[in-house]
């Protein structure tokens, strides 16, 4: 769940809880008020009743006091207007009655009037009269039109009969009208509002309680029901105050919550959310803005930026290092202090020193350098250190001298590393061009040797022809010198051999040579070869011996031309590199399915340190060059290549200044399952 959602949920929950608390408090308060009202309702009712009793008691006393009085009995029997005026009429105001009526025993009205002198005596029926007489003292209400009147009626008796035991002499009726004036007096006295049934109860804004007050007629039937309303302003004030307090508490707590929400949402939730979103999307613009803020978010944003930059740097560094170590040419980088900071795998290979050892060293502590002409370079003349000083890209060929003394030619491209316009180091790419140089040199040597080798017999031919021509010019009869023909043959042979050798080498190299398979007699080939070399053998006075241990079975399965070339090369080498008066011994023997031929000669031999290269193309041993400067070093190379194609092999042993033995093995001609090519 996101932080902003959490904040929203938390504050919502807090709002809900506080609202519930306020509501609970409100309901509790209301309940308490209604209990309070319930408690005092009966009390109020009773006190209202007592008040009515009290207010009515005056009238009741008036009625009962005036009715057991001898003067009244006298008046009933003999109505004296003076008595009526002095005693009854004055009482009307004294007792605050509305009307007074006096009846005699015959139920005849003998006095009747009200405050307004407008009395219309109530019509009492027989039943009522009977009841009134029976009751002695009566209290009831009547309604005539809208006028409600309370009546107090007492039977008239002599003064000595307060118990009204004697026969009633008449009726004393006192009435009091419950008009608006009376009601307002009652209201004032009771502190209530009295609402007649004909009126609508007023809407009250204060705490109040109401109860009905019923008035009955003489038959105990309800003639009017008042609603009595008691108000409790203090309670109301208390209630209103507590309501207000609740409201204030609610409002302020809501306000506080709102502020907390806004604070958390805007000042905490939003930045965190923005931060996490930009981290997620790797959108660093916002963080760059945020990092300027002095708050913790600024610090956080800065931290994230630093970390991500660090990550990026590490990532790209790892990437670069992988690329740099994989490149084929040697890469070396140095810092401002010329200390090595990068030394890739190719550099390790080139200089024969591990990166671990090279790092931190100065470049001239790892290797020495020379110009192409061989002049040694000082540490600050190295292309790399010059690139550091001159801010230029430098590309040149130098000769590198490894810690072990080995040298190699290299093309070096050095370039400064510039950061914010300042050189912080330099890097050089170093490519070993030894192989290219060797190839170039060998090509040059080859051309030079071949052209020299061809020119020599050509010279001999040219000169011989020149001699022939001049001889003919002098005289047709002059005999051609004896030596001319062998000279020409020898020259042509040399040319032919050389051209064949070059063609063979090129065929060997592009794999286009095909060996035939024919059964040949080795001794015949050998004899031909020796015949060709007869002159040379004779010139050096060599002794040639042939030891055949094959019982005449020296057949080989081979390619005639190729084998001829092999035998020629080996035998002519033996002749060429023999000392004068030396010996050549040729042995043939059968070994399992092979014919093994050994060609031995005495002579300087092959120097030990050069023996591994003897079959290389264009290689000539140093002593061979000295002994016989002619030759281009193809004979043994061709022989070995041919023998491999023919399913044979060649090896040698050479003891310098004693003897050299070349041994070739060829598939035997009688072996049906012999190796064939």
């Amino acid at each position: 769940m996101k932080i902003r959602t959490k904040i929203t949920l938390l504050t919502s929950a807090l709002v809900l809880v506080s609202l519930l608390l306020v509501l609970g408090q409100y309901l509790l308060e209301k309940e308490r008020t209604s209990l309070f009202l319930e408690g005092i309702k009966k009390e109020e009712q009773e006190s209202f009743n007592r008040l009515l009793d009290l207010s009515g008691s005056e009238l009741a006393i008036f009625a009962s006091d005036y009715s057991y009085w001898d003067d009244m009995v006298e008046y009933v029997h003999n109505p004296d207007p003076v008595f009526a005026k002095e005693n009854i009429e004055t009482s009307l105001t004294t007792f605050k009655a509305s009307e007074i009526y006096v009846y005699n025993a015959n139920r005849e009205l003998i006095y009747g009037r009200d405050l307004d002198y407008l009395a219309v005596p109530p019509v009492f029926g027989e039943d009522l009269f009977n009841q009134l007489y029976k009751n002695r003292l009566s209290h009831f209400f009547t309604r005539k039109n809208d006028t409600l009147t309370e009546f107090r009626v007492a039977t008239i008796h002599p003064t000595n009969d307060p118990e009204r035991i004697t026969e009633p002499q008449g009726l004393f009726v006192v009435g009091k009208r419950w008009d608006k004036g009376h009601l307002s007096i009652l209201e004032e006295l009771s502190g209530t509002t009295i609402v007649p049934s004909s009126e609508k109860a007023p809407g009250l804004r204060v705490v109040s309680l109401s109860f009905p007050y019923e008035v009955m007629d003489w038959k105990q039937e309800i003639v009017e029901t008042f609603t009595i309303i008691s108000s409790f302003p203090i309670v109301d004030v208390v209630q209103q105050t507590s309501k207000r307090q609740l409201l204030v508490i609610t409002a302020s707590s809501l306000l506080v919550l709102l502020l907390v929400y806004v604070f958390l949402h805007i000042l905490v939730g939003r930045p965190i959310e923005a931060l996490s979103r930009s981290i997620q999307k790797k959108d660093y613009r916002l963080m760059k803005k945020m990092q300027k803020s002095p708050s913790e978010f600024g610090i956080l944003a800065k931290l994230v930026l630093d970390f991500s930059e660090h990550e990026l740097v590490l990532e790209s560094k790892a990437h670069d290092e992988a690329i740099l170590s994989a490149v084929g040419s040697g890469l070396i980088a140095v810092d401002k202090e010329k200390k090595i900071t990068l030394f890739n795998m190719a550099a390790e290979r080139l200089f024969g020193i591990t990166a671990e050892k090279a790092l931190g060293l100065r470049i001239d502590e790892v290797f020495q350098a020379e110009t192409e002409e061989g002049a040694s370079l000082a540490g600050d003349e190295f292309p790399l250190t010059r690139a550091l000083g001159t801010k230029k890209l430098i590309s040149e060929t130098i000769l590198c001298v490894r810690p072990d003394g080995m040298k190699f030619s290299a093309v070096v491209t050095a370039t400064p590393i510039v950061l914010y316009g300042e050189i912080i180091g330099a890097v050089q790419d170093l490519r070993d061009i030894t192989a290219e140089k060797t190839l170039e040199r060998s090509k040059r040597d080859f051309i030079s040797l071949v052209s020299h080798e061809l020119r020599t017999p050509l010279t001999n031919l040219t000169w011989t022809v020149e001699q022939l021509e001049s001889a003919k010019n002098i005289s047709a009869s002059t005999s051609i010198p004896e030596s001319t023909v062998p000279y020409m043959r020898s020259a042509l042979n040399r040319i032919r051999t050389l051209v064949s050798a070059i063609v063979d080498v090129s065929k060997i190299e592009n794999g286009s040579i095909v060996a035939a398979s024919k059964v040949l007699k080795f001794s015949s080939l050998l004899a031909l070869s020796l015949e060709d070399l007869k002159l040379a053998i004779k010139a050096k006075n060599l002794t040639v011996t042939i030891n055949e241990e094959t019982s005449g079975n020296d057949l080989v399965k081979s390619d005639e031309r190729m084998l001829e070339i092999i035998v020629n090369n080996l035998v002519s080498n033996a002749v060429r590199y023999s000392n004068e008066n030396g010996q050549i011994r040729i042995t043939t023997r059968k070994e399992e399915s092979e014919l093994v031929v050994g060609i031995v000669n005495t002579g300087p031999g092959i120097p030990k340190e050069e023996q591994t290269q003897i079959f290389s193309k264009m290689f000539r041993a140093t002593n061979a060059k000295l002994l016989s400067p002619d030759g281009i070093g193809l004979g043994l190379y061709i022989s070995k290549s041919f023998l491999e194609l023919l399913g044979g092999s060649i090896s040698f042993t050479s003891i310098p200044d004693q003897e050299t033995v070349f041994t070739i093995r060829l598939p035997h001609g009688l072996q049906s399952s012999g190796k064939q090519v």
């Binding site: 030079s448 020119r455 020599t456 000169w463 000279y487 400067p629």
Partner: protein, 126 residues
């Protein structure tokens, strides 16, 4: 008039014979040496001119010439004609000018007559 004495240092027997025969018939006295060592030995006879091949057994022409030039007054000034089939730009002979007086003749490009003429020219023989 005594015959001029020419030393031919040439390992190729055919070339040596042809040169020698031609020079003899042109009226020179000729001595032939088949390798560098023999050649150097033969200079003790103080020939008037040396025809010198470069690629020679035992001691090459350049070494022989160096030994001569640095070996004494006579050796320093005896005229030498290099007769070789090496190209003039070949590494083996590109220092040849150091050892003047010296002339260079590529055998394949010159006839025997040319060699004789050059020899006569140098020795001022008519």
């Amino acid at each position: 008039m005594t015959k001029k004495h020419i030393l031919v240092v040439e390992d190729d027997t055919v070339s040596a014979s042809l040169l020698s025969d031609k020079l003899v018939s042109a009226g020179f006295e000729v001595e032939v040496a088949a390798d560098g060592e023999q050649g150097l030995e033969a200079t003790k006879n103080k020939p008037d001119l040396i025809l010198l091949d470069i690629l020679l057994p035992k001691m090459d022409g350049m070494a022989l010439m160096k030994a001569l030039r640095e070996g004494g007054e006579w050796g320093a000034q005896v005229p030498i004609i290099i007769t070789s089939n090496l190209s003039p730009d070949d590494g083996a002979i590109n220092k040849v000018a150091t050892y003047a007086p010296v002339f260079y003749l590529m055998k394949a490009e010159h006839s025997l007559d040319d060699v004789v003429e050059k020899t006569k020219e140098i020795l001022k023989v008519v």
